[in-house]
Symmetry: C3
Subunit: 207 residues, 3 copies
């Protein structure tokens, strides 16, 4: 058993990640004119995907197996989407909310991996993978081009959040500010990138 | 070690799920004009996919690692498909057999999760995920649109079977009838949905 | 704890598999005109994907969680691709290098599974799955048709390497020659198949 990390806030982060990814999953199902059951399924799978892969990589049971809140949260999100018109949820809004899940999970994946004794560099990689898996699963099941290939610094934002978290914990700074700060840094970058279409230079040596 | 569930019937359910998903995987390979080795690989991966994800989520070794029957069954299925014309296996037939794997695995995933101490609601979710993963893997590898997005109550049927199983086991009804009844209920719904193109109302608030 | 297999050579095989799959992942990112961070991410995920699935199936922690070399190797590969024109890396070259990862991982997956007490036939299946997963993940994330569906004996080469390894270890032949020989056999077959467009007979009973 590793050093236990404070459950309440980490649990809140997990729920936040679940809720925003669930929202993005439910919206994809709405765009595809699916039934409510399929919409709830998309909300669940997209919501728990990132955290599940994180837990499998660390080698612990999936976090939602014994949690009383995950399933209701996903169901509530699906109900919310079901009873509202999709124009309330513009594609841009979806990108902004997806960014919250991306960066919150990147921080959470990194923090949990470090708590279980993984070294900083692999922990950052686990954080980035954790943050991006939910969106990949959602896009793959729906047969859509993956959001990872979007130009506006998607993986970069996850990397900023994950490495910010690892650096802060390495220097033993107080955890809660580190988690919040690292999430905010990646989120600010991603939101700025969406808002002003900021891109890192793409590969351009193709001649 | 959890309470052991009777191996023979559960083993038979596992083999049934493996066999019908293997069949659907081999048929996709046949449609794509693949070689026999690729066809056998599709039969295997589609056949064991659902059960493998179930076992990983529960946190136990993959069920096919020590089983002497899984691989031969998949191979026999691949041989069967290889030596018969695909017109023997119409697309509709594939949908009907896929439904058997879907609902059998949904029940099996739920029952195994409950046997390992997972609470009923997450166990139902695990059952639904278990039932649908085989088809998703098959479709993703073949680059086809996922069967999950079909309108005829695919996820719904898995949900009926999984929750039927969880309700029956919760009230401590005899296991074997519960398993068979829950599989039959989901199967009847899915078959009826395919036969008469029944659909739940799709999301329609897009304006 | 299973009988320990000699770490140095097996570690070298793991690094080789990681490096060539990382190369193929980075090249796909280059073709898609991604940023350097996304390219590094592709290199990592493609590089560690096969070995990670192998370790999850066996039920042990992911091999890269505590390894000091995996991440730097993937980063170096990504830098190499970033600073060179893609015409240095023709599509054919990518196919040839992908084949090295495919067969090395097929052997490694089989050998590690056998070392952990898995029976020969499931061990061969694990080897084939391990070898092919990296390429599937790369293609799925990039939204490309999977290399598995290519006609030139892709799965067949993995099967030759995996079963060669299992046969050699079953008869207790010296390990190092078995590993190298089994990799070389599958590699020769795959390279010959690419070079001369060799194919096994495809399924052709569709009438």
């Amino acid at each position: 058993m590793p050093e236990l990390i404070p459950t309440p806030l980490l649990g809140a982060f997990d729920l936040l990640g679940v809720a925003v990814f669930a929202l993005s999953g439910a919206l994809v199902a709405a765009r595809e004119k699916q039934t409510f059951v399929t919409m709830a399924f998309f909300a669940l799978v997209t919501g728990v995907g990132g955290g599940t892969v994180r837990d499998l990589l660390i080698g612990i049971p999936a976090f939602w197996a014994r949690d009383p809140w995950i399933a209701p949260v996903c169901l509530i999100v699906a109900l919310l989407v079901w009873f509202t018109p999709t124009r309330w949820w513009e594609r841009k809004v979806l990108d902004y909310t997806d960014a919250v899940g991306l960066t919150a999970y990147a921080v959470l994946g990194t923090a949990k991996a470090i708590a279980y004794g993984i070294a900083p560099v692999p922990a950052v990689l686990m954080g980035v993978i954790t943050g991006t898996v939910g969106g990949v699963i959602r896009d793959v099941i729906a047969g859509r081009p993956s959001i990872l290939m979007r130009p506006e610094m998607y993986v970069t934002a996850a990397f900023v959040s994950a490495s910010g978290c690892a650096i802060g914990l390495y220097f033993d700074w107080p955890r809660v500010p580190v988690w919040i700060g690292a999430t905010a840094a990646g989120l600010a970058l991603r939101w700025a990138a969406i808002r002003w279409s900021l891109v890192l230079p793409p590969y351009s040596r193709n001649q």
